[in-house]
C-alpha cells in the first residue's frame, strides 16, 4: 500500500510494505468487526418503551465466551505480527550483509555531509569525496552507512528506501541499504534538531554504474580544481 504513494527504491522496501499490509489487514479486520458489532448493538438495543434492559453480569459462560474467544484470537494475531516484525527488524537493523561500499553520513545543524568512498571504493582514503546535502549512490550496490552527528540528534531518513535511523552525537551507528531504483529522492531529517529542522533536507541520487563513475570523475581533485580554481577543494 505504501508503494502506491512512495516508490520503493531499496532491496528491503518490500518487507516494510509487506508488514504494513499485513498489519493493516489484521488490525483492519478487528477494527471493522468491533465497529460493526458496536453500531449494530447501538441500533439493536436502542431504548424502546416497555422493554427493559436485561440483567447480565458477564460471568455467564455462554456470553463470556464472546469476550474470551476474541481475546485469544487477538493474541494469535499478535503472534503473527510479532513474528513478522522481528523478521523485518532483524533483516534491516540487526543483520549486516557484506558491504560493497561504505558511505559516511554526518548530520549537523542543519545540513547533511556525505563522505563517499571515491573511485577506489574505500572510505577514509585520499580520494574520498565529501559533499553537502547530496548523496550519490550506485544502483544495486550494497552500501553500509556510518551515521554520525556533530551536535544534536538528527535522523537520517530516506522514505523511498524505507530507511530511518537517528544520528546520535557520541556514537557511530552502522546500517545498510541497497538502492534498486534509479532516480533522485529526498533525504529528510526526522528528529527535532532546532530552528532549522524544517530546512534540513538533502537529495539522494541513485545512478547506474556508468553515471556514478562519471559523477565521481567530476569530483576528483583535478576536475574540481579545473572547474573552481579559486575555491578551496571540497575535501580535506
Amino acid at each position: 500500500m505504501i508503494e502506491s504513494i512512495v516508490p520503493a527504491a531499496s532491496s528491503y522496501a518490500w518487507e516494510i510494505d509487506y508488514i504494513f499490509t499485513m498489519i493493516f489487514v489484521l488490525t483492519g479486520f478487528w477494527f471493522l468487526l468491533c465497529e460493526v458489532v458496536f453500531f449494530w448493538l447501538i441500533f439493536k438495543f436502542k431504548a424502546k418503551d416497555g422493554q427493559p434492559a436485561e440483567y447480565i453480569t458477564g460471568s455467564e459462560p455462554h456470553l463470556k465466551r464472546w469476550i474470551t474467544i476474541p481475546h485469544v484470537l487477538v493474541l494469535v494475531c499478535d503472534l503473527f505480527i510479532l513474528t513478522a516484525a522481528v523478521k523485518v527488524w532483524y533483516d534491516i537493523k540487526q543483520y549486516l550483509p557484506e558491504p560493497e561500499k561504505t558511505v559516511r553520513v554526518i548530520g549537523q545543524q542543519w545540513a547533511w555531509t556525505f563522505v563517499h568512498p571515491g573511485p577506489d571504493g574505500v572510505l577514509d582514503s585520499s580520494d574520498d569525496i565529501r559533499t553537502v546535502n547530496e548523496l550519490h549512490l550506485e544502483n544495486e550496490t550494497v552500501y553500509h552507512y556510518q551515521l554520525e552527528s556533530v551536535d544534536v540528534l538528527h535522523d537520517f531518513s530516506v522514505p523511498v528506501f524505507r530507511l530511518k535511523q537517528d544520528a546520535i552525537p557520541g556514537r557511530v551507528i552502522t546500517g545498510w541499504f541497497e538502492p534498486t531504483l534509479e532516480g533522485e529522492f529526498d533525504v529528510q531529517c526526522a528528529e527535532m534538531c532546532g530552528i532549522g529542522h524544517g530546512l534540513m533536507g538533502a537529495r539522494v541520487f541513485v545512478e547506474s554504474a556508468e553515471k556514478h563513475a562519471a559523477w565521481m570523475a567530476t569530483q576528483s581533485p583535478v576536475a574540481l580544481a579545473a572547474n573552481f580554481p579559486a575555491q578551496r577543494i571540497g575535501k580535506e
Partner: protein
C-alpha cells in the same frame, strides 16, 4: 429511593450550608473543599485547552498556507513554529489532560463516589492546585523571556535541549523544564491524596469490588504516575544542571549519554499515556452503564485488565526509541511487550462493547460522548500496532502517522473524555441540566471535523511526511499538490471544529445561569454522588451514606425501578 436520604430537604441543606457565609476568597480561591478545587482544576485546564487549541490553530494555518500572516498570531517563524508545537504537546498532556481528567474528576468524584465528606488532606489538596497553577503561569511566562519559548519538542531530547547554543532558547528551555517539574510535584501531592482517600475513606460497606470503575481507574492512574515519574524528576534535575550549571550528564562530548535521557523520559512517558487514558476509560464505563441501563459486562475483567495494562505499561517504554539509537536486539523485547499490552486493552474494549448487549440505550449527549470515545479510541488503538511492531516502525517513526495515531488516542482521552464527564456530571456539579440539543450540535460539530483532521494525516504519514517541519516546500517529495490539499483539508476541519467549541461555551454558560434545575439523580444512576444534593453542599451529605452493593446493579429482575442505588439497604 433518593427521597429516603435524611439530608434530602432543601431547608436542611441550606441550613447546613448557610450558618457561616464564607467570603469570596475563602469560598472560591483558598477553598479546601474538594469540589471547589475540582472546579479550579477544571477551569484552569479549560483555559489551558483554549491556549493549546490556539497554538494548534496557529501552526496548522502555517502548514496549510505556508508563510501567511496567521490572523490573531502573525507570521509563524521556524522558531515560533517549534515553540508552538512543543508547548501545544506539553500543554495538552500536562496542563489539560492531567488536570481535567485526573485532578478535576478525581477531586470531584473520589469523595462523592466513596461516600465521604472531603479528601483526606484538604490543605494538601489546595497546595497541590496552587503549585499546579504556578506551574501553568511559569510555563506561559516562558514565551515572554529572551529567546522565546522552548522549541525542542515535548520530549526535550538533549543535547538540543541541554545547550542554549543548540536550542537558541537560553531561558525558555529551563523555564519550560521547571514548569514541568512543578507540575509533577503538584500531581505527586494530588496523587497521594487521591490514592489515600480511595483506599482509606470509603463509606462503610464499600468493599473493593463495590468501588465504581472510574475511581479504580483514577487511583490506578495516580499510582502509575507516582511510580513512573521518579526517574524523570531525577532526569529533569540533571538536565536543568546541564542547562544552567554546565554539567555533562547528557553531553556526549564530555562523557555523557543523550540516550539516557530518552530512557528516563519514556520510562515515565509511556505509563503517562495510561495515566490519562484510564480516567477517561473509567468515565466511559460510568456513562455507558447508566445510559444502557446495564451492569458492566464483567466488572472484575475490567479491573484485572486495567491492572495488567498498568503493570505492562512499565515494560514497553523503549518502543518510542526503536530507531533512536537503542540496541537493535532490545527492539525485539519491546516489540513483544508492546504487542502483549494490546491484549488487555483490546479485551477492555470488547467488554465495553459487550456491555451494550441487551441494554436499553438512551442516546443522550453524555452517552454520545461515551460511545464516541469507544469508536474513536479503537482507531487510536489499532494504529498503535503499526508503531509498536518494530519492523513497521522503521518507516513510520516520527511521521504524521505517529501524530495521527496519538491524536486518535489523546483526543478521545482528553477532549471526548472531558466532555463526556462534564456533560454527565454537570447536573451534579452545578445543579442545572445542560441543554441537550445544543449539546448534540456541539457533539457532531466536534466529532465529524475531528475525523477529517486526522484521517488525512494518516495518509500523509504513509506518504513519509515527517513531524515538526514548519514548511514542507523544502522537500520536493513532501510538497506535491495532493499533499498540500490534504493539509488544507485538515486545517479547515480544525477551524470548523474549533468554531463549534463556541457552541459548547455558550451552552455551558447559559445552562449554568438558566438551565433547568436538576434533581438529585437526573440520570437515575446508582453511584453515591447522585444521592447528594445537586450541587452537593460543603461536606457533601448531612449523614454520610452506607454502601450495600456494587455500583452497576441496573435492571435487576424483580424490582420496580431499573436501578438500585448503592446506599439503599434493599
Amino acid at each position: 429511593m433518593a427521597e429516603s436520604i435524611p439530608s434530602d430537604s432543601p431547608a436542611v441543606a441550606d441550613d447546613h450550608h448557610g450558618h457561616e457565609e464564607p467570603s469570596f476568597w475563602s469560598k472560591y480561591v483558598f477553598s479546601t473543599d474538594h469540589k471547589m478545587i475540582a472546579m479550579q482544576y477544571m477551569f484552569t485546564g479549560m483555559a489551558m485547552a483554549v491556549i493549546g487549541g490556539f497554538m494548534a490553530y496557529a501552526f496548522r494555518m502555517q502548514l496549510a498556507f505556508p508563510g501567511i500572516e496567521v490572523p490573531g498570531f502573525g507570521i509563524v517563524t521556524p522558531a515560533n513554529y517549534n515553540a508552538l508545537v512543543t508547548n501545544h504537546g506539553a500543554i495538552m498532556i500536562f496542563w489539560v489532560a492531567m488536570p481535567v481528567l485526573i485532578a478535576a474528576f478525581g477531586n470531584y468524584l473520589i469523595p462523592l463516589m466513596c461516600g465521604c465528606d472531603d479528601m483526606v488532606f484538604p490543605k494538601l489538596n489546595r497546595l497541590s492546585y496552587q503549585i499546579f497553577l504556578l506551574s501553568a503561569v511559569v510555563l506561559l511566562s516562558s514565551f515572554f523571556v529572551e529567546g522565546g519559548g522552548f522549541g525542542g519538542a515535548w520530549t526535550a531530547y538533549p543535547p538540543l535541549s541541554a545547550k542554549a547554543e543548540y536550542s537558541l532558547t537560553p531561558l525558555g528551555s529551563s523555564i519550560w523544564l521547571g514548569a514541568v517539574a512543578l507540575e509533577f510535584v503538584a500531581f505527586l501531592l494530588g496523587g497521594i491524596n487521591f490514592i489515600t482517600t480511595a483506599m482509606n475513606s470509603r463509606a462503610p460497606g464499600m468493599k473493593l469490588y463495590d468501588i465504581p470503575i472510574v475511581i479504580w481507574m483514577i487511583v490506578i492512574a495516580s499510582i502509575l504516575f507516582l511510580v513512573s515519574v521518579g526517574p524523570l524528576i531525577a532526569g529533569a534535575i540533571m538536565l536543568l544542571f546541564d542547562q544552567q550549571l554546565g554539567t555533562a550528564f547528557f553531553d556526549p562530548a564530555r562523557g555523557g549519554d543523550p540516550v539516557l535521557w530518552q530512557h528516563l523520559f519514556w520510562f515515565f512517558g509511556h505509563p503517562e499515556v495510561y495515566v490519562v487514558l484510564l480516567p477517561a476509560l473509567g468515565i466511559t464505563a460510568e456513562i455507558i452503564t447508566v445510559f444502557a441501563r446495564k451492569k458492566l459486562f464483567g466488572y472484575k475483567t475490567v479491573l484485572h485488565t486495567t491492572i495488567a495494562t498498568g503493570v505492562l505499561s512499565f515494560t514497553v517504554w523503549a518502543h518510542h526509541q526503536f530507531i533512536s539509537g537503542v540496541d537493535p536486539r532490545m527492539a525485539h523485547v519491546f516489540t513483544l511487550t508492546t504487542l502483549l499490552i494490546s491484549v488487555p486493552i483490546a479485551e477492555m474494549m470488547f467488554v465495553y462493547i459487550a456491555t451494550l448487549y441487551g441494554g436499553s440505550i438512551r442516546l443522550t449527549t453524555p452517552m454520545l460522548w461515551g460511545l464516541s470515545f469507544i469508536a474513536e479510541f479503537l482507531i487510536g488503538g489499532v494504529t498503535g500496532i503499526f508503531l509498536g511492531a518494530s519492523g513497521a516502525d522503521i518507516y513510520f517513526h516520527d511521521t504524521y502517522f505517529v501524530l495521527a495515531h496519538f491524536h486518535y488516542t489523546f483526543f478521545p482521552i482528553a477532549i471526548i473524555g472531558t466532555f463526556a464527564g462534564l456533560t454527565f456530571w454537570f447536573p451534579k456539579m452545578f445543579g442545572r441540566m445542560m441543554n441537550d440539543r445544543l449539546g448534540k450540535i456541539h457533539f457532531w460539530g466536534t466529532i465529524i471535523p475531528f475525523n477529517f483532521i486526522f484521517i488525512p494525516l494518516f495518509v500523509l504519514g504513509m506518504g513519509g511526511q515527517h513531524r515538526r517541519i514548519f514548511d514542507y516546500s523544502y522537500f520536493p517529495e513532501l510538497s506535491m499538490p495532493w499533499m498540500q490539499d490534504i493539509r488544507v483539508l485538515a486545517t479547515s476541519s480544525l477551524l470548523i471544529m474549533l468554531g463549534f467549541q463556541v457552541v459548547f461555551f455558550y451552552n455551558f454558560i447559559v445552562s449554568l445561569r438558566s438551565g433547568e434545575k436538576a434533581s438529585k439523580n437526573p440520570w437515575k444512576s446508582n453511584t453515591l454522588e447522585w444521592t447528594a444534593d445537586s450541587p452537593p453542599p460543603h461536606g457533601n451529605w448531612k449523614e454520610l451514606p452506607t454502601v450495600y452493593r456494587g455500583p452497576y446493579e441496573y435492571s435487576v429482575p424483580g424490582r420496580d425501578e431499573d436501578y438500585w442505588p448503592q446506599d439503599q439497604p434493599n
